[in-house]
């Protein structure tokens, strides 16, 4: 298996197996475009620590994919899910960088995973809570807000009940 070098925007090199790197569609197409002999792929949009985290995902998933023989499909899926769950336990800003990187590098599985992680942050929160968590400003005008609240009143029942208490 050939190894290639991925260079992040701050100049750090990461040596990784080609198979793992090609989980990223961007890297794959770059490799196809560049000549056969090229080993270094510059990735100007990804910083060092994020790239490391992405590559962690890629290597783990290729390793699990390759272990076809010794475990059943179901077991492998379960194992991968468990690993993913641990992997995505990062803080909000790391998650932000990770989702940007996954989008740029076009790693479908990772992108999906990150989106799920972000969705988990939003899930079950009231609008007020969401604003607080993501630093949003309530920039509605009064009639506008009344309108949207009335439309979505059905979803805000919990909040109403809390307010009553």
């Amino acid at each position: 298996m050939r190894s290639i070098i991925l260079r992040s925007c701050d100049g750090a090199d990461h040596v990784v197996a080609q198979e793992a790197a090609c989980l990223s569609k961007t890297v794959q197409s770059l490799l196809e475009e560049l000549e056969e002999s090229t080993l270094v792929v510059p990735l100007p949009n990804v910083c060092d620590c994020t790239l490391r985290k992405v590559l962690q995902y890629c290597t783990q998933h290729t390793a699990l994919q390759r272990r076809v023989t010794d475990i059943s499909d179901e077991l492998r899926t379960r194992e991968m899910e468990a690993w993913d769950k641990r992997y995505i336990m990062v803080s909000t800003d790391e998650l932000y960088h990770l989702v940007m990187a996954a989008h740029y590098l076009n790693v479908p599985g990772l992108l999906e995973l990150c989106c799920e992680g972000i969705a988990n942050l939003i899930r079950g929160k009231s609008p007020e809570h969401v604003r607080q968590c993501f630093g949003l400003v309530k920039n509605f005008e009064a009639p506008e807000e009344e309108n949207i609240r009335r439309t979505n009143l059905w979803a805000l029942v919990d909040e109403k009940e809390q307010a009553k208490k």
Binding site: M89, V90, S91, T92, D93, Y96, H97, V99, M100, H103, L111, E112, C114, C115, E116, I118, A119, N120, L121, I122, R123, G124, K125, S126, P127, V130, R131, Q132, C133, F134, G135, L136, V137, K138, N139, F140, E144, E145, I148, R149, T151, N152, L153, W154, A155, L156, E159
Partner: protein, 792 residues
């Protein structure tokens, strides 16, 4: 502590004599005595002290110094010092001029070193209960071309002094009572290292001669040579050996004369007088000891012996480097290689226990030996008993407390053998090396470090903070414990979680440039938080390099309290924005049933989870609020994502969350009301919309339609539920003992499998038994329907 004790110093001293702990239990009573002495004045710009400071005798009655030329002994007597205890307002010490003379008076000045000799600066022993001083003087080292230079020395790179003299001086009046000289040899005199005093026995180790001179200091003021061993173990060894050598030589010469001897024998006869073939003295005793030990070892004597003979040469060339008394007859010698200038803890050397009465070696260990380490740790006072001048001072252990901590310079923790070597480097001990005088306690007095050598300084008990790094996430969770030792590997209590981890996590939280730092001003006020409402800390955003220093700093207050088994942390900014998080103790702290004290424990594997939760649930909102108040750009988060990615993320959400999100802000409303998200939800929940509904893309109509249908469905459900709960007439024939599980079951039927009957039959029976409204039971059947569906 002070409040309970009398303030009068005499009372305190008497109480200490009468009621202090039994000897050996603790050193704290001794320390407590002079820890309560407080300096009452500060002297600055004192005149330079011309003499060489040597040591305080005892508790500081006499100060022993040498004059600048190192010929005279100068002894000062301390004139006493005023004592003021903290809170003792009445003791007004007489004000005195802050000069050296006003505290120390010259007691006497005596010429001790004669001729070419000069006194050794840092050699001074106190003998016979502080009656006598033992001082040493020596000449300058000989050059190797000198005639007196010993040619046959086994040790090469050690200087040779023409003469070294030990002086016994009576402390009271400075009379030189006795002298003892050793010529053409080297004795390690600095810091008393080559000489050992045990009661009245003085052992002097000469390096070139490889001999230990034993002197006895008599109470009358004389030094008597008791014994010398090294090359020879008994006094008559030399006689026997010379007799033997003489006889040998006679025999050889007669052999050579009587017959035409083979050439090689003549050759060996010529070589014999060089005397290198014979192994004598201590070396011979060691080899004999080792041989016998290996020989008696029954399992594989030949193998052990082979190894012994293999390293025979190494054993035979060992050199004594240091000596210590263990008791009056046993000595501990450290023996190392010839080319070392001294024994170092990181190199290999051997420790030999020699019994001078029987002239035998009784123990031989290398400096990695764990058996010896066990002995040392168990009997530390025994190993150090004789090296102190005061009896209580032996409880001051020279073994530093931080031995098991890794070297801060090297990232690797010490290996087992390194730790063993470090500890065993304390033996052989140095006589009277530990200073017991309170004057040199750095906690009490400050003094010029250059005047007083480092070995004389009182060793304090240093408490180093321990650092904890989670093994799984080295970067994420890292905190120090200042005083409470927590072992993160298995445990910590809820209180420690509260006070330490949360604080440290708050401090360690680093969102790029956004870091909370503890407000310094508030930190000092925080010393005594009210115990009932938990602790309160103030944080501000860390100042960035580009910020104006005068910019308004918005503080936030973080409080935490343990409350009903959970830790509640809440923070509020100046403008009243709040964020709070509640951490249930059961999630992170587990009681360990196996352990006797069933204290709650925090397990380290949860720490990163806790960290994440604190960061996302608590610190992030607080940071954003603070940024908003200071008018800074908030840290990157969801709203900076491009719309396509936002949509990807929101695809994972349920309708209710989406709807709530749409109410949060204007830009989120645009994203969250997109028909891309709502159409699949609508189809899944209510089926495909007909074209007659007129849902147009791009208007948020799907969201509205979903909301309207949901509301309608809810309304219907509520209505049905209300109907189901309306009172009905009782069934005919139901007794009090009969349980009717559902309204549509046949009256009186209990048990059996009637409820597994297919649906049509149920409908029939329902009409029969279910009261005046007939079909009322069907409303309630809704939750059970899947079961019927399966059967039919």
């Amino acid at each position: 502590m002070l409040a309970k004790q009398p303030l009068n110093l005499l009372h305190r001293l008497r109480n200490r004599q009468l009621y202090s702990f039994a000897t050996g239990t603790s050193v704290s009573s001794v320390r407590r005595y002079y820890e309560s002495l407080g300096p009452q004045a500060v002297a600055t710009d004192t005149e330079t002290f011309k003499d060489h400071f040597c040591k305080f005798v005892g508790q500081g009655e006499f100060l022993v110094c040498f004059d600048a030329l190192l010929h005279d002994l100068v002894v000062y007597r301390c004139l006493g010092y005023g004592v003021s205890l903290p809170g003792d307002s009445e003791s007004q010490a007489p004000s005195r001029e802050l000069r050296f003379d006003s505290f120390f008076q010259v007691h006497y000045r005596r010429l001790v070193a004669h001729g070419a000799e000069s006194l050794i600066k840092d050699f001074c022993l106190v003998a016979h209960g502080e009656q006598y001083l033992i001082l040493a003087s020596s000449t300058v080292p000989l050059s190797s071309t000198d005639a007196a230079y010993p040619r046959d020395s086994v040790v090469q790179n050690v200087p040779v002094y023409a003469s070294t003299t030990f002086h016994l001086v009576r402390l009271e009046d400075g009379t030189v009572c006795d002298r003892y000289s050793i010529s053409n040899d080297c004795i390690h005199l600095s810091n008393n290292s080559g000489v050992y005093l045990h009661d009245d026995l003085l052992a002097i180790l000469t390096i070139h001669g490889q001999a230990v001179h034993l002197l006895q200091v008599l109470p009358g003021g004389r030094m008597v040579k008791v014994q010398q061993f090294g090359r020879h173990c008994w006094d008559d060894d030399e006689l026997n050996l010379s007799e033997q050598a003489h006889a040998e030589q006679l025999w050889r010469s007669s052999q050579a004369r009587s017959a035409a001897a083979p050439e090689q024998e003549v050759h060996s006869a010529a070589a014999a007088p060089e005397g290198s073939a014979l192994v004598e003295g201590i070396t011979q005793r060691i080899l004999a000891f080792l041989f016998l030990e290996r020989y008696r070892d029954g399992r594989a004597p030949s193998d052990a012996l082979r190894r012994f003979f293999y390293s025979f040469e190494a054993y035979a060339t060992l050199v004594i480097w240091k000596v210590q008394f263990l008791d009056r007859s046993r000595l501990l010698l450290s023996m190392g290689l010839r080319n070392a200038t001294q024994v170092r803890s990181n190199s290999a050397y051997f420790l030999v226990v020699y019994d001078r009465d029987s002239g035998q070696v009784v123990g031989f260990y290398d400096n990695k030996n764990e058996a010896l380490l066990g002995l040392y740790l168990k009997h530390t006072p025994y190993f150090h008993a004789a090296c102190m001048s005061q009896p209580w001072a032996r409880f001051l252990t020279p073994c530093p407390a931080s031995l098991h901590l890794p070297d801060p310079q090297s990232p690797q923790p010490w290996s087992q053998s390194q730790v063993v070597r470090r500890i065993l480097a304390n033996v052989p001990a140095t006589a009277q090396a530990l200073c017991t005088s309170p004057f040199l306690d750095a906690n009490l007095f400050s003094y010029d470090d250059k005047l007083i050598s480092a070995t004389l300084k009182m060793r304090g008990y240093t408490e180093q903070p321990l650092k904890f790094v989670s093994r799984a996430h080295p970067a994420a969770s890292r905190f120090k414990s200042s005083s409470i030792p927590i072992r993160l590997d298995d445990d910590c209590t809820l209180e420690q979680l509260q006070s330490q981890i949360v604080q440290e996590l708050l401090k360690a939280n680093n969102l790029g440039d956004f870091t909370l730092s503890l407000n310094k001003k508030e930190e000092s006020n925080d010393a005594a938080p009210p115990p009932t409402i938990g602790s309160e800390l103030q944080y501000v955003l860390r100042t960035l390099p580009g910020d104006e220093p005068s910019a308004m700093r918005a503080p936030c207050t973080v409080k935490y309290v343990t409350f009903g088994g959970s830790l509640v942390v809440w923070g509020s900014t100046a403008s009243g924005r709040m964020s709070h998080i509640s951490i249930a103790a059961v999630d992170y702290i587990h009681s360990q049933p196996g352990k006797s004290g069933s204290e709650p424990r925090l397990s380290a594997r949860d720490l990163s989870g806790l960290y994440m939760r604190l960061k996302d649930g608590f610190i992030h909102p607080i940071l954003i609020a603070l940024c908003a108040e200071e008018g800074r750009q908030p840290p990157p988060s969801l709203q900076l994502l491009p719309t396509e990615l936002k949509l990807l993320c929101l695809r994972h959400l349920q309708a209710r969350d989406l709807a709530a999100l749409a109410c949060a802000s204007r830009d989120l409303r645009h994203v969250a009301s997109s028909e891309v998200l709502w159409e699949p939800l609508l189809v899944a929940e209510f089926g495909a919309p007909s074209p007659a509904d007129g849902l147009l893309p791009g208007t948020g109509a799907f969201m509205h339609a979903f909301g309207a249908r949901w509301t309608e469905r809810e309304r219907r459900r509520r209505q049905r539920r209300r109907m189901a709960h309306e009172p009905r007439l009782p069934y005919p024939g139901t007794g009090p003992h009969l349980v009717v599980p559902h309204s549509y079951f046949p009256a009186g039927a209990v048990g059996g499998d009637f409820d597994r009957l297919p649906h049509p039959f149920l409908g029939f029976s329902g009409t029969r038994g279910s009261g005046p409204f007939g079909g009322a039971g069907f409303g309630l059947a809704a939750p059970r329907r899947p079961r019927w569906k399966n059967l039919s």
